[in-house]
Point group: C2
Chain length 138, copies 2
Protein backbone atom coordinates (compact mmCIF):
# COMPACT_ATOMS: atom_id res chain seq x y z
CA UNK A 1 0.00 0.00 0.00
CA UNK A 2 1.11 3.53 -0.71
CA UNK A 3 0.65 6.20 1.92
CA UNK A 4 -2.61 7.58 0.58
CA UNK A 5 -4.05 4.11 0.02
CA UNK A 6 -3.41 3.27 3.67
CA UNK A 7 -4.82 6.65 4.65
CA UNK A 8 -8.03 6.02 2.76
CA UNK A 9 -8.36 2.49 4.14
CA UNK A 10 -7.98 3.81 7.67
CA UNK A 11 -10.14 6.90 7.26
CA UNK A 12 -7.38 9.46 7.85
CA UNK A 13 -5.35 11.82 5.68
CA UNK A 14 -2.03 10.89 4.09
CA UNK A 15 -0.40 13.56 6.24
CA UNK A 16 -1.63 11.84 9.39
CA UNK A 17 -0.12 8.55 8.20
CA UNK A 18 3.15 10.33 7.51
CA UNK A 19 2.95 11.92 10.95
CA UNK A 20 2.48 8.54 12.66
CA UNK A 21 5.37 7.19 10.59
CA UNK A 22 7.62 10.08 11.63
CA UNK A 23 6.67 9.47 15.26
CA UNK A 24 7.58 5.80 14.95
CA UNK A 25 4.10 4.28 15.30
CA UNK A 26 4.13 2.80 11.81
CA UNK A 27 7.06 1.01 10.16
CA UNK A 28 6.68 1.02 6.39
CA UNK A 29 9.22 -0.42 4.00
CA UNK A 30 10.86 1.40 1.16
CA UNK A 31 10.10 0.61 -2.45
CA UNK A 32 13.62 0.40 -3.92
CA UNK A 33 12.24 1.40 -7.32
CA UNK A 34 11.09 4.87 -6.36
CA UNK A 35 11.74 5.34 -2.64
CA UNK A 36 8.02 5.39 -1.79
CA UNK A 37 6.78 4.19 1.58
CA UNK A 38 5.15 0.76 1.42
CA UNK A 39 2.59 -0.19 4.09
CA UNK A 40 1.18 -3.68 4.67
CA UNK A 41 -1.94 -5.00 6.38
CA UNK A 42 -0.26 -4.89 9.77
CA UNK A 43 0.12 -1.15 9.25
CA UNK A 44 -3.62 -0.94 8.68
CA UNK A 45 -4.25 -2.93 11.86
CA UNK A 46 -1.97 -0.62 13.77
CA UNK A 47 -3.67 2.41 12.25
CA UNK A 48 -7.10 1.19 13.40
CA UNK A 49 -5.69 0.43 16.83
CA UNK A 50 -4.26 3.94 17.02
CA UNK A 51 -7.65 5.45 16.13
CA UNK A 52 -9.39 3.47 18.88
CA UNK A 53 -6.93 4.48 21.55
CA UNK A 54 -6.82 8.10 20.39
CA UNK A 55 -10.60 8.24 20.84
CA UNK A 56 -10.11 6.86 24.34
CA UNK A 57 -7.74 9.71 25.14
CA UNK A 58 -4.37 7.98 24.89
CA UNK A 59 -1.44 10.05 23.65
CA UNK A 60 0.59 8.95 20.66
CA UNK A 61 3.49 8.25 23.02
CA UNK A 62 1.42 5.86 25.13
CA UNK A 63 0.06 4.15 22.02
CA UNK A 64 3.58 3.81 20.71
CA UNK A 65 4.48 2.07 23.96
CA UNK A 66 1.53 -0.29 23.62
CA UNK A 67 2.12 -1.07 19.96
CA UNK A 68 5.85 -1.34 20.28
CA UNK A 69 5.64 -4.43 22.42
CA UNK A 70 2.17 -5.79 21.84
CA UNK A 71 2.80 -6.53 18.20
CA UNK A 72 5.80 -8.64 19.07
CA UNK A 73 4.65 -12.21 19.48
CA UNK A 74 6.43 -12.79 22.78
CA UNK A 75 4.40 -13.67 25.82
CA UNK A 76 5.89 -11.23 28.33
CA UNK A 77 4.75 -7.84 27.06
CA UNK A 78 5.34 -6.42 30.51
CA UNK A 79 5.44 -2.80 29.39
CA UNK A 80 2.14 -3.08 27.52
CA UNK A 81 0.63 -4.83 30.49
CA UNK A 82 1.76 -2.06 32.80
CA UNK A 83 0.40 0.69 30.60
CA UNK A 84 -2.93 -1.03 30.01
CA UNK A 85 -3.33 -2.17 33.59
CA UNK A 86 -2.70 1.37 34.78
CA UNK A 87 -5.04 2.93 32.25
CA UNK A 88 -7.78 0.32 32.48
CA UNK A 89 -9.87 2.18 35.07
CA UNK A 90 -9.68 5.37 33.03
CA UNK A 91 -10.54 3.47 29.87
CA UNK A 92 -13.59 1.95 31.52
CA UNK A 93 -14.73 5.28 32.97
CA UNK A 94 -14.17 6.97 29.63
CA UNK A 95 -16.31 4.36 27.92
CA UNK A 96 -18.98 4.99 30.54
CA UNK A 97 -18.72 8.73 29.83
CA UNK A 98 -19.19 8.11 26.13
CA UNK A 99 -22.19 5.92 26.78
CA UNK A 100 -23.72 8.49 29.13
CA UNK A 101 -23.08 11.31 26.68
CA UNK A 102 -24.52 9.28 23.82
CA UNK A 103 -27.72 8.64 25.74
CA UNK A 104 -28.08 12.24 26.84
CA UNK A 105 -27.47 13.58 23.37
CA UNK A 106 -29.83 11.02 21.89
CA UNK A 107 -32.53 12.12 24.29
CA UNK A 108 -31.83 15.79 23.78
CA UNK A 109 -31.83 15.45 20.01
CA UNK A 110 -34.94 13.28 19.94
CA UNK A 111 -37.07 16.37 20.50
CA UNK A 112 -35.96 17.58 17.07
CA UNK A 113 -36.82 14.45 15.18
CA UNK A 114 -40.47 15.49 14.98
CA UNK A 115 -40.09 19.23 14.47
CA UNK A 116 -41.20 20.57 11.08
CA UNK A 117 -38.33 20.00 8.65
CA UNK A 118 -36.23 18.48 11.42
CA UNK A 119 -34.75 21.88 12.10
CA UNK A 120 -34.45 22.90 15.74
CA UNK A 121 -36.22 25.98 16.98
CA UNK A 122 -34.53 28.48 19.23
CA UNK A 123 -36.50 27.21 22.18
CA UNK A 124 -35.22 23.68 21.64
CA UNK A 125 -31.65 24.90 21.45
CA UNK A 126 -32.09 26.48 24.87
CA UNK A 127 -33.67 23.23 26.00
CA UNK A 128 -30.62 21.31 24.81
CA UNK A 129 -28.35 23.61 26.75
CA UNK A 130 -30.44 22.95 29.84
CA UNK A 131 -30.47 19.21 29.22
CA UNK A 132 -26.71 19.05 28.90
CA UNK A 133 -25.97 21.44 31.73
CA UNK A 134 -25.13 18.83 34.30
CA UNK A 135 -21.64 17.58 35.12
CA UNK A 136 -20.35 14.67 33.08
CA UNK A 137 -19.86 11.66 35.35
CA UNK A 138 -16.23 12.00 36.42
Amino acid sequence: MKVSELAQAGGVTAETVRHYTREGLLHPQRDPQNGYQRYDNESLSRLCFIQCFRMLGFSLGEIKGLLGEAMQENISCSKSQDILANQLPQVRSRIKEFQALSERMDQALEAWRDTPGGVPTGHLVSQLVDDLSQPVIV
Copy 2:
Protein backbone atom coordinates in the same frame (compact mmCIF):
# COMPACT_ATOMS: atom_id res chain seq x y z
CA MET B 1 -17.23 30.69 42.95
CA LYS B 2 -13.53 31.22 42.49
CA VAL B 3 -11.79 29.84 39.46
CA SER B 4 -10.59 26.62 41.04
CA GLU B 5 -13.93 26.00 42.72
CA LEU B 6 -15.65 26.15 39.36
CA ALA B 7 -12.91 24.01 37.90
CA GLN B 8 -13.43 21.32 40.52
CA ALA B 9 -17.21 21.43 40.15
CA GLY B 10 -16.88 20.95 36.41
CA GLY B 11 -14.11 18.36 36.49
CA VAL B 12 -11.47 20.43 34.69
CA THR B 13 -8.36 22.34 35.74
CA ALA B 14 -8.33 25.99 36.75
CA GLU B 15 -6.15 26.70 33.73
CA THR B 16 -8.83 25.29 31.44
CA VAL B 17 -11.42 27.57 33.05
CA ARG B 18 -9.09 30.53 32.57
CA HIS B 19 -8.57 29.47 28.97
CA TYR B 20 -12.33 29.36 28.30
CA THR B 21 -12.65 32.74 29.99
CA ARG B 22 -9.89 34.23 27.84
CA GLU B 23 -11.62 32.84 24.76
CA GLY B 24 -14.91 34.43 25.76
CA LEU B 25 -16.91 31.28 26.54
CA LEU B 26 -17.34 32.18 30.20
CA HIS B 27 -18.20 35.62 31.56
CA PRO B 28 -17.15 35.91 35.21
CA GLN B 29 -17.49 39.04 37.29
CA ARG B 30 -14.69 40.80 39.07
CA ASP B 31 -14.43 40.93 42.82
CA PRO B 32 -13.64 44.63 43.27
CA GLN B 33 -11.80 43.86 46.51
CA ASN B 34 -9.01 41.78 45.03
CA GLY B 35 -9.58 41.51 41.29
CA TYR B 36 -10.38 37.80 41.48
CA GLN B 37 -12.72 36.21 38.92
CA ARG B 38 -16.17 35.28 40.29
CA TYR B 39 -18.19 32.56 38.56
CA ASP B 40 -21.87 31.74 39.17
CA ASN B 41 -24.04 28.69 38.53
CA GLU B 42 -24.68 29.71 34.95
CA SER B 43 -20.92 29.46 34.42
CA LEU B 44 -21.08 25.89 35.69
CA SER B 45 -23.92 25.10 33.29
CA ARG B 46 -21.93 26.58 30.43
CA LEU B 47 -18.85 24.62 31.48
CA CYS B 48 -20.79 21.33 31.41
CA PHE B 49 -22.26 22.26 28.05
CA ILE B 50 -18.77 22.98 26.73
CA GLN B 51 -17.54 19.57 27.92
CA CYS B 52 -20.36 17.77 26.12
CA PHE B 53 -19.80 19.53 22.84
CA ARG B 54 -16.02 19.22 23.07
CA MET B 55 -16.46 15.44 23.39
CA LEU B 56 -18.66 15.56 20.31
CA GLY B 57 -15.87 17.21 18.36
CA PHE B 58 -17.05 20.83 18.27
CA SER B 59 -14.39 23.53 18.36
CA LEU B 60 -14.36 26.18 21.04
CA GLY B 61 -15.30 28.71 18.39
CA GLU B 62 -18.40 26.78 17.38
CA ILE B 63 -19.39 26.26 21.01
CA LYS B 64 -18.92 29.95 21.62
CA GLY B 65 -21.32 30.59 18.76
CA LEU B 66 -23.86 28.20 20.25
CA LEU B 67 -23.55 29.53 23.78
CA GLY B 68 -23.46 33.15 22.75
CA GLU B 69 -27.00 33.02 21.40
CA ALA B 70 -28.56 30.00 23.00
CA MET B 71 -28.23 31.39 26.50
CA GLN B 72 -30.13 34.48 25.47
CA GLU B 73 -33.81 33.88 26.01
CA ASN B 74 -34.92 35.12 22.61
CA ILE B 75 -36.75 32.77 20.30
CA SER B 76 -34.85 33.34 17.07
CA CYS B 77 -31.44 31.83 17.77
CA SER B 78 -30.83 31.57 14.04
CA LYS B 79 -27.06 31.24 14.34
CA SER B 80 -27.30 28.42 16.86
CA GLN B 81 -29.89 26.75 14.70
CA ASP B 82 -27.64 26.96 11.68
CA ILE B 83 -24.65 25.55 13.51
CA LEU B 84 -26.59 22.71 15.10
CA ALA B 85 -28.56 21.88 11.99
CA ASN B 86 -25.38 21.68 9.95
CA GLN B 87 -23.56 19.58 12.51
CA LEU B 88 -26.45 17.30 13.43
CA PRO B 89 -25.53 14.47 11.03
CA GLN B 90 -21.94 14.49 12.25
CA VAL B 91 -23.10 14.57 15.86
CA ARG B 92 -25.30 11.55 15.28
CA SER B 93 -22.58 9.61 13.48
CA ARG B 94 -20.08 10.52 16.17
CA ILE B 95 -22.44 9.18 18.83
CA LYS B 96 -22.73 5.98 16.80
CA GLU B 97 -18.93 5.77 16.65
CA PHE B 98 -18.70 6.17 20.40
CA GLN B 99 -21.30 3.48 20.94
CA ALA B 100 -19.52 1.10 18.56
CA LEU B 101 -16.15 1.78 20.17
CA SER B 102 -17.62 1.34 23.64
CA GLU B 103 -19.04 -2.04 22.74
CA ARG B 104 -15.86 -3.22 21.09
CA MET B 105 -13.70 -2.10 23.99
CA ASP B 106 -16.12 -3.65 26.46
CA GLN B 107 -15.91 -6.95 24.62
CA ALA B 108 -12.15 -6.79 24.25
CA LEU B 109 -11.65 -5.93 27.91
CA GLU B 110 -14.11 -8.55 29.12
CA ALA B 111 -11.52 -11.24 28.45
CA TRP B 112 -9.43 -9.70 31.24
CA ARG B 113 -12.13 -9.66 33.86
CA ASP B 114 -11.52 -13.33 34.63
CA THR B 115 -7.76 -13.49 34.33
CA PRO B 116 -5.83 -14.12 37.58
CA GLY B 117 -5.49 -10.79 39.36
CA GLY B 118 -7.37 -9.05 36.58
CA VAL B 119 -4.05 -8.25 34.94
CA PRO B 120 -3.83 -8.86 31.22
CA THR B 121 -1.27 -11.30 29.89
CA GLY B 122 0.85 -10.50 26.88
CA HIS B 123 -1.25 -12.81 24.78
CA LEU B 124 -4.41 -10.91 25.70
CA VAL B 125 -2.77 -7.62 24.82
CA SER B 126 -2.07 -9.00 21.36
CA GLN B 127 -5.65 -10.26 21.31
CA LEU B 128 -6.89 -6.75 22.09
CA VAL B 129 -4.83 -5.37 19.25
CA ASP B 130 -6.40 -7.95 16.95
CA ASP B 131 -9.91 -7.23 18.26
CA LEU B 132 -9.56 -3.52 17.63
CA SER B 133 -7.79 -3.90 14.30
CA GLN B 134 -10.79 -3.17 12.16
CA PRO B 135 -11.70 0.22 10.74
CA VAL B 136 -13.95 2.41 12.82
CA ILE B 137 -17.25 2.95 11.05
CA VAL B 138 -16.65 6.13 9.06
